[in-house]
């Protein structure tokens, strides 16, 4: 058969297309070419679904290390690390009481890199909790919750809750003694509204506590049902929720005009010229949009003097990647030094003594040791509510974007830290030395103990102190500074007491060396 001339041409074209396929694949994936010019850098960012969460240009203020300390990126990086390592662990983990513990042992001993991966997972989870809390503190102390960022502050609070939930649900999965009893306590904290309903005598009619516990455990006891629920929450529901919320959180940063910065940020940046900034707008924009129709309010740069933004690609991405690798470094280093704990197999008839929750819940556990409902649900809800209200109560505008900014400033923070640390120490010392209401009046009604206990007193003291600060400095921001600092101090003290000074039967000991042997 002879090929016609047309056929030969088609073949040639086919060959040429085949040869060009790799190049065309590359071009269709990266339309803008190498990001070497301002324009191609911009298209590189908004042509990529993931990078597009970032603005095309980043303000130089945002890139200063002291602006954020990289804490937000660190939280996200830690999440990414737990996500990857967690998925790897799922290859071997079996969510069944008979097999879970053995499968963790297998991961530990015979799965190649299994021990390291599990340790990294564990440490990244801890790093994430720390980073999220510090990130919140950073946002608070630089007033980053202020308009227009109120909504993102709320999303951030939700992210904090989901993060703690992720850590907590992961705690049960190894099915060791530590896990079993920490979850038993956790599930009963969920049931603690009964403390109120019982005292009011309405549990028979209205039992939110029992319902919460049942929902969490799927049974009366911590068993197979509970394990599968915690597993589902840990690997599916909560990560999805966290990813969705985080996407909103990131996207809102962009929509809210980037990170918070002081009003005079540009002026201050003008005094520290950056040698490696790129020229601004050297080419005509490739496309124009009806910006005026879409964007309301002031645009950042128009008629506003020198431009202090840099292309996000590569400046922001170097910073973000740097923090990611730093986080990874911290996690890997800790993972190599210290193994994730695995105690003996869960034994439902021998309570772990002391049964300690993960460290970041030990502050709660310390309060729970006085009243289950107040310590486990009441106070945390009050704190969360207080945090959620902050952006709506503090409508001031001065010193936004400044560390410790606001009336009172750094001295107020220092004073509040002192109060925040001293008050729980004093109350705890009193309660440990002299006992509490029940020891003095055994017949006291439970409602009184629920209402008046070290945890509620501490909260009340903090609230009173911050109200005093509001009056003294004539500013809601001063009150917020005082309250937030106090809560942080209380968290630190109670967590430290719960972690280091509580032994068997939750008795106070100066060191574990003094624990009685049983």
């Amino acid at each position: 058969m002879r090929a016609s001339p047309g056929g030969r041409a088609a073949l040639a074209e086919f060959r040429a297309n085949l040869k060009a396929a790799p190049r065309r694949l590359y071009e269709s994936a990266f339309r803008s070419g190498a990001p070497t010019t301002d324009r191609s850098r911009s298209t590189f960012v908004f042509g990529n679904v993931f990078l597009h969460l970032h603005a095309v240009r980043t303000h130089r203020w945002s890139l200063r290390w002291t602006t954020t300390l990289g804490l937000g990126v660190m939280s996200a990086s830690a999440f990414l690390i737990t996500l990857v390592t967690g998925v790897m662990l799922m290859f071997y983990y079996k969510p069944s009481p008979d097999l879970a513990y053995q499968s963790i042992k297998d991961i530990h001993f015979v799965v190649p890199t299994g021990r390291l991966i599990r340790n990294i997972h564990r440490w990244a989870a801890n790093v994430m909790v720390v980073a999220v809390i510090l990130h919140m503190a950073r946002a608070f102390y630089t007033s980053a919750y202020r308009s227009p960022r109120e909504y993102n502050w709320l999303i951030g609070l939700l992210l904090l809750v989901v993060t703690l939930g992720l850590s907590f649900t992961g705690y049960l999965l190894p099915w060791d003694q530590l896990a079993y009893w920490a979850i038993t306590i956790g599930a009963n904290i969920a049931q603690s509204p009964r403390e109120l309903t019982d005292a009011l005598g309405v549990t028979g009619l209205f039992d939110p506590g029992g319902f919460q516990r049942l929902l969490l455990l799927g049974s009366d006891v911590v068993g197979q049902e509970a394990l599968i629920r915690f597993y589902l929450l840990h690997v599916m529901i909560l990560p999805l929720a966290l990813a969705a919320l985080a996407a909103v959180h990131f996207w809102r940063i962009r929509k809210d005009g980037g990170l918070t910065r002081p009003a005079d940020a540009d002026a201050r940046l003008a005094r520290e010229p950056a040698a490696d900034t790129y020229p601004v707008f050297t080419e005509a924009p490739l496309r124009t949009y009806h910006l005026a129709a879409v964007v309301r309010g002031r645009t950042p740069a128009v008629n506003d003097g020198p431009e202090h933004t840099l292309p996000s690609m590569p400046h922001l991405f170097y910073a973000e990647l740097g923090v990611l690798m730093l986080t990874l470094l911290v996690c890997v280093a800790l993972a190599l030094v210290s193994d994730a704990p695995l105690k003996e197999l869960a034994n439902p008839s021998v309570p772990e003594n002391p049964a300690k929750a993960p460290w970041y819940f030990l502050g709660l556990q310390e309060m729970v040791a006085f009243s289950a409902f107040m310590g486990g649900m009441g106070i945390p809800l009050i704190v969360l509510l207080g945090l959620a209200l902050i952006p709506f109560l503090d409508r001031e505008t001065s010193a936004t974007g400044e560390w410790w900014g606001g009336p009172g400033g750094w001295p107020l923070v220092k004073r509040s830290a002192l109060v925040g640390l001293a008050a729980p120490v004093a109350i705890e010392a009193f309660a440990i030395r002299f006992g509490w209401l029940r020891e003095w009046f055994p017949a006291i009604p439970q409602l009184v103990v629920t209402a008046v206990n070290p945890a509620t007193l501490l909260t009340a003291a903090y609230a009173a102190y911050s109200v005093w600060c509001i009056r003294r400095h004539q500013s809601a921001r001063a009150g917020a500074l005082a309250l937030f600092t106090c809560f942080l101090g209380g968290f630190v003290v109670l967590t430290a007491i719960g972690t280091y000074f509580r032994g068997p039967n939750w008795v106070f000991y100066w060191s574990p060396a003094d624990w009685p042997t049983h």
């Binding site: 904290i189 068993g223 049964a355 289950a372 439970q446 039967n505």
Partner: protein, 160 residues
């Protein structure tokens, strides 16, 4: 045929919603209703109609020489059974605070988790436990005792 120009409206003005757009409103309403109903059904799923937990009633044989006032904890159960001259009684050993298992001691019960203490009759003497340990329903036939963990009885009720 003449075209009557509509009054011009800026693109930035809000578009008035027609009160007669019954089709749109109804369809949205029905969608919301259907999804809401489905959601309610979906939320019923995590709460099983019957729990997989073991029966709350069980029979147990007390050991022969159980001294009066000494607790016998049937293996795998969160109950302490006592026998004395006045009869048999059972007290739950699940702490009313946060569900740890309390330990029977000479003086009563001790919770290892947050230091609650209970007297021998289950009443709280110390610590955060909000309620006394409940006494459970028992019925005795010979040396066998049937205990119902699900039914609490008044403190002090003993069965012979």
């Amino acid at each position: 045929m003449t075209v009557t120009p509509k009054p011009s409206r800026s693109r930035l003005d809000a578009e008035p919603v027609s009160r007669r757009d019954w089709l749109g409103l109804t369809s949205l309403g029905v969608t919301a209703g259907a999804l809401l109903f489905g959601l309610v059904g979906l939320l019923r799923l995590p709460k099983a109609a019957v729990l997989s937990s073991p029966s709350k009633k069980f029979r147990v044989a007390l050991p022969e020489g159980l001294p009066a006032g000494e607790a016998f904890v049937p293996p795998g159960r969160a109950v302490a059974v006592f026998r004395d001259a006045r009869g048999v009684h059972a007290i739950s050993i699940t702490c009313t605070h946060l569900g740890c298992l309390v330990k029977p001691t000479a003086a009563g019960f001790e919770c290892p988790c947050h230091g609650s203490r209970f007297a021998a009759d289950g009443s709280v003497t110390k610590g955060p436990a909000p309620r006394p340990l409940p006494w459970l329903k028992v019925s005795v036939s010979g040396s066998e005792v049937t205990i119902d963990e699900g039914t609490a009885v008044a403190s002090g009720t003993k069965e012979v």
